[in-house]
């Protein structure tokens, strides 16, 4: 047990999170089932495995430690957010509906930081986009929301597969901290797989070798709305490389625990293994989109089109690669797991698995993993500059930059994306068979609108505070307004009164 004085400190820290909804009894039941994987209550006590479910607007789980005592804080909102994207992705929804999810999450984060006017403006833009869709494609107030639903996803959602993955991932971090033996073979395997795959021959500098999992941090610079190049922190990152490596391995190890928990939940819910395989990849992608959103939006220039926006490299490639290694090892018996897990994964179609291995080998998995960052960069660039300059050819870059070509190609990759990737208004005729991935497209387009909005906001903050909102309505009403686009999407009907009376306070842009 955590000593009382430490528990008090932990609670004070958690109280600063703004409550979103409630942790339902279903959530709690799913979490208890998931915890069963680590042993009974006594065994878990002995391991120091403690988990606290919450529901906050931050939608971010964490491991919290005070005075040597650690606990996993699992934010069910994080699972909800990922599940929304899972639906948009697997049911092939239009980019607009993913766009709205991202805009709402950005508005909630702004609200959480008491940045109320920005939060409201984001909702305003999201609602305007929805109205545009109604006028072009619908019949006011009804709008189409085409989708290709399937019952299997419902089983995934009801079985709390995503929540199990996230919660077990955090528990994995706890185990790592506490050096628990039961999982040491699994953790060793993941570390070994990482080391074996982390170096590959360079594709641009003959004879050179590249550290696959390390990308330089790139700071995108803008001067008066014009892209002014990137500052890429390459060599300087050398001093942090060992620490980064440890972080990446720990993320992959936690994912392995998450994948096992998700498998148990999927087996219980009757989800076929091929579907779970797809779900796990999509969950990692969704988490990446939210991470990138969370990191990029606060760094956008405010009230100006000049500034420097850092893009830190993420761990998506490590995680996707590690997942493939793990599943491969379960299938070929080189890692010991429960019989139920082994036989479940054995049923995965060989071709389906081999296809993903190929993607990894050919470097295409890397491109997939970098896509959220490329889209964020493209969105920010389009939002600040208005439109993108033409791309450079690969030959121009290689001849102009030599050994730095890889970095520059990455920094300019967004220039080769179709313009509709960043312009939601161009996606109303999107079709799942011809357009780019709906969630990816919604993400790029959201970043554009967010960057543009941020630039148009008045530069001084602290204009509107909670006290102003409370005067005109209640705090909860305001939050409803921020989320109003989502309710309208659910009902497939626009609501002209989405602003709940707050338009008097903020006016129109």
């Amino acid at each position: 047990m955590i000593p009382r004085d430490k528990w008090v400190l932990l609670k004070r820290s958690l109280r600063r999170r703004r409550r979103a909804f409630d942790v339902s009894s279903n959530h709690r039941a799913s979490l208890r089932r998931m915890l069963g994987m680590f042993g009974d209550r006594e065994q878990r006590e002995a391991m120091g495995l403690k988990l606290l479910p919450i529901s906050s607007m931050q939608a971010a789980s964490a491991v919290v430690t005070v005075g040597g005592h650690s606990m996993a804080v699992v934010d069910v909102e994080q699972a909800n957010a990922i599940e929304f994207l899972l639906t948009r992705s697997l049911w092939r929804e239009m980019p607009l509906f993913s766009y709205i999810e991202f805009m709402i999450r950005a508005a909630e984060s702004a609200y959480d930081a008491d940045d109320l006017e920005f939060a409201y403006r984001i909702s305003q833009v999201a609602n305007a986009r929805l109205k545009m869709h109604v006028f072009v494609k619908g019949e006011h107030p009804i709008f189409p929301r085409p989708m290709i639903p399937d019952g299997t996803l419902v089983e995934v959602l009801q079985g709390d597969v995503v929540l199990s993955f996230i919660a077990a991932h955090e528990c994995g971090h706890l185990l790592h901290r506490q050096d628990i033996h039961g999982f040491s073979r699994l953790f060793d395997f993941i570390e070994e797989a990482y080391r074996q795959t982390s170096i590959e021959p360079s594709r641009h500098a003959p004879g050179g070798r590249v550290m696959r999992y390390f990308k330089p941090e790139s700071v995108m610079k803008f001067r008066d709305g014009v892209y002014d190049g990137d500052a890429s922190l390459g060599i300087k990152a050398r001093q942090f490389m060992d620490a980064r490596e440890q972080e990446q391995i720990a993320e992959a190890q936690a994912d392995a625990v998450g994948a096992l928990a998700a498998t148990y939940a999927a087996i219980d819910a009757g989800v076929p293994v091929s579907y779970l395989f797809l779900v796990l990849h999509t969950v990692l992608d969704a988490a990446e989109y939210f991470t990138t959103l969370r990191r990029t939006v606060p760094a956008l220039p405010r009230g100006t089109r000049s500034g420097a926006i850092p893009f830190r490299p993420t761990d998506l490639l490590v995680r996707k690669s590690a997942l493939l290694s793990l599943i491969g090892a379960i299938r070929n018996g080189s890692i010991g797991v429960d019989e139920s897990i082994a036989s479940y994964w054995a049923e995965l179609n060989d071709q389906q698995f081999a296809y993903w291995q190929e993607l990894d080998d050919e470097g295409r998995l890397e491109q997939i993993a970098l896509r959220p960052t490329v889209l964020a960069r493209g969105g920010v660039h389009t939002g600040l500059q208005g439109e993108l300059p033409p791309p450079l050819s690969k030959e121009e870059v290689v001849s102009g930059y030599g050994p730095l070509a890889g970095t520059v190609l990455f920094n300019l990759a967004h220039l080769s994306a179709p313009s509709s990737a960043f312009c939601i208004e161009e996606t109303l005729d999107w079709r799942p068979d011809t357009g780019m991935d709906g969630v990816a497209n919604g993400f790029g387009a959201a970043l554009r609108d967010l960057a543009d909005l941020s630039a148009k906001m008045p530069p001084e903050r602290g204009g509107f505070g909670v006290k102003d909102v409370m005067r005109d309505g209640s705090d909860a009403d305001f939050v409803e307004v921020l989320r109003s686009a989502r309710s309208q999407v659910r009902r497939r009907k626009v609501d002209e009164n989405w602003h709940g009376g707050f338009e008097a306070l903020f006016g129109n842009l």
Binding site: I2, K11, R15, R294, P298
Partner: protein, 132 residues
């Protein structure tokens, strides 16, 4: 809800120990008692799934502590720390502070410090969320 008239100060885990020493130096320079020190083992380390692990202390904004908080701003800016201030009816969260913003935050803290009554840090905790 967050306790009113408090500031949450966060620094990356790697500098948590150094930060406490820096705070102590400021505390000594101001001539305050040792009970105003921040202890490493009372910081809450938060390791979110997608960001740098930070250690956090929650400090009441009272006349005694305000000078220390303003004093440590430069350190926080240099080490990519964060502040999260809760005042009556207002909250300010700053995650990417730059030196040119330092004055704005100092002014805000000055006003808050002189307005704030000596706050009891208000531990009205409830135990309904015990860990599983």
């Amino acid at each position: 809800m967050a306790d009113p008239n408090t500031i949450a100060i966060r620094v990356p885990t790697s500098v948590a120990h150094d930060f406490c020493l820096f705070w102590k130096d400021l505390r000594l320079a101001e001539g305050l008692d040792a009970d105003q020190d921040l202890r490493v083992d009372e910081g809450v380390e938060v390791e979110p799934f997608d960001a740098v692990a930070m250690v956090e202390w929650i400090v009441p904004i009272v006349q005694a502590t305000t000078p220390l908080i303003t004093g440590i701003l430069g350190y926080l800016i240099a080490k990519r720390g964060e502040i999260d201030i809760t005042l009556p009816g207002r909250r300010v969260v700053a995650k990417n502070m730059t030196p040119s913003q330092a004055r704005e935050y100092m002014q805000m803290l000055d006003e808050a410090g002189s307005d704030a009554k000596t706050a009891d840090s208000g531990n009205s905790e409830d135990d309904s969320d015990d860990p599983a």
